[in-house]
Amino acid sequence: MKRVLMLTWMLVLVLFVSGCADKSTRHTAVALDASLYEVINDIHTVEQQTLCGAPSCDGKPDAPAQGWSHEKSVAFNQKLLPVAEAGRQLNTRLGAWKSGEPLPAEVQTLITGLGDSLSMVVADFPSGTSKERILGQIAAAQKITLSILSSVVTITGK
């Protein structure tokens, strides 16, 4: 009788703790997803300001800073696009992931993809303050991605 009661309480405790872990993972992922948006938005804004002096060059004439050009901007944004697309998809998947459910495989795949895509963004930017700021933002974005992965690995034990 005592053993059955103790085992029952232990089972309740394990289920309780595992439920909190899933919740914590989602909460962490959502918080970091919001940070990731800010970082990528900042990267894009700085690049566009370098091209035309505005946060978005949509409909504005090019006035590139020294060492930058329309072609370089296009190439840079072609590398940045998969990162932003992965971030957008991650947000959609997080919306479908309900608290208490296991980590969806798509979320883990997207997070891994974000890390890979970010490493391709680092290139071809002119030297100077903007480049240093961009590199700083990319490093921050990579750190965020690693933080998500770290929390996932810690909680799921993979």
Binding site: R26, Y37, Q48, L81, A84, R88, G95
Partner: protein, 60 residues
């Protein structure tokens, strides 16, 4: 009922009461957090859409 069984039951009832209060508070906090998370995700979606579209435009 022998004294040991009585102590066990007292312990279990105390534990159940403590867990009940803790569970209520944790579940309440979880529901509040879940609401905040969902609101954050909803607010971020149009921002991600706009950002992705602008980067796509800039990449062409």
């Amino acid at each position: 009922m022998d004294p040991n069984t009585l102590i066990l039951w007292e312990g279990l009832i105390t534990m159940a009461a403590a867990m009940g209060v803790k569970s209520y508070n944790v579940i309440k906090a979880m529901l509040q957090d879940a609401g905040a998370d969902d609101a954050t995700i909803t607010a971020l979606q149009p921002k991600w859409d706009t950002l992705t579209n602008d980067i796509r435009r800039a990449s062409m």
